[in-house]
């Protein structure tokens, strides 16, 4: 099944990139503890503030196709992940919004949800050094990749059952 294979490759690419991005940010962090150069004592997430270009790594945009993509922005102390999910028709649009709302609540439990998604995307996560343990960061990546797999599966299933329901309606009458 071609669709299933591209999804797998897409998620693998995202996971590998996130793993590397976390290393990149950590490696530099372990070499030098980077407090915010402007504000003493507070570590503001550089990926949001973009106050110093030398603290930003190359942003990476991974597109599965024209409609689905993942933007990964890395800095010395933070990682921002934004997702645009497939919404090919009105039904997918409605289902996506419902599902995103449901999963957003779970993301809030991890405290990684960015209140507003980055412009052009459906949802954004912000991982900072407050999520300081390595294990916790890897759990977050697992969560995000699983999240994407779930959205895709859930929308396909809901769509299929919706079509079945409608078809059933016509048959009865």
């Amino acid at each position: 099944m071609v669709g299933a294979n591209t999804l797998r490759l897409y998620l693998t690419c995202i996971r590998n990139t996130l793993d590397a991005a976390m290393c990149a940010a950590s490696a530099v962090c372990h070499l030098q503890n980077f407090p915010c150069q402007e504000v003493e004592r507070h570590n503001k997430p550089e990926v949001e503030l973009k106050t110093s270009p030398e603290l930003l790594l190359n942003p990476v945009l991974i597109c599965r196709n024209e409609a689905e993509k993942c933007l990964i922005e890395t800095s010395i102390n933070s990682l921002r992940i934004s997702l645009k999910v497939k919404q090919a028709d009105e039904l997918e649009n409605i289902l996506t919004k419902k599902f995103l709302r449901f999963l957003s609540m779970r993301a809030e439990a991890f405290q990684v949800l960015r209140r507003k998604p980055v412009q052009g995307y459906d949802i954004s996560f912000l991982i900072t050094n407050y999520h300081c343990e390595e294990m916790q960061k890897h759990k977050l990546i697992d969560f995000i990749v699983q999240f994407m797999e779930d959205i895709d599966k859930e929308i396909s299933e809901l769509k299929m059952s919706e079509h079945t329901r409608q078809a059933g309606g016509y048959r009865v009458s």
């Binding site: 591209t6 490759l9 897409y10 693998t12 690419c13 590998n16 990139t17 793993d19 590397a20 991005a21 290393c23 990149a24 490696a27 930003l56 790594l57 190359n58 990476v60 945009l61 991974i62 597109c63 599965r64 196709n65 024209e66 993509k69 890395t74």
Partner: protein, 133 residues
């Protein structure tokens, strides 16, 4: 001002070189030697120019070669590791286009390249903000 002038001259020279390369690549592709074509496209990539036209011109060639690869595993048996880092950078460029066939191909190669080259290869393309494609 003078620097811009020198940069422009260099850009013209670079683009001329790229056009010369592209003829070689087309010839290799006609001979069903896509890996050779890819190596040629990746060689002498002008990453330390800021000129977007040079970068785009080289990308077009690399893209052509990437899309011609049918056997990804086979490709790695003849692609030297010295090409891994530059290829990774171009894969991300391909992934950013949103063009379905390009993304499919780049995702396929990205998985195998990461298996071969490791996360360090990805890390270097994220961290190298100077030599970009």
């Amino acid at each position: 001002m003078a620097e811009d002038h020198v940069e422009a001259d260099n850009a013209e020279a670079i683009i001329a070189r790229i056009e010369h390369k592209s003829r070689k690549i087309e010839s290799l592709l006609k001979q069903y030697r896509p890996v050779e074509a890819l190596k040629t496209a990746l060689e002498g990539s002008p990453p330390n120019t800021r000129d977007e036209r040079c970068k785009s011109a080289n990308w077009i060639m690399v893209h052509r070669a990437i899309m011609a690869i049918k056997d990804v595993d086979g490709m790695f048996s003849s692609l030297d590791p010295e090409y891994y880092d530059i290829l990774m950078k171009y894969l991300y460029r391909g992934l950013s286009t949103g063009d379905r066939p390009t993304c499919d191909q780049c995702l396929r190669i990205h998985e195998k390249l990461t298996e071969r080259a490791g996360l360090g290869c990805i890390l270097r393309s994220l961290a190298d903000t100077v030599n970009t494609v």
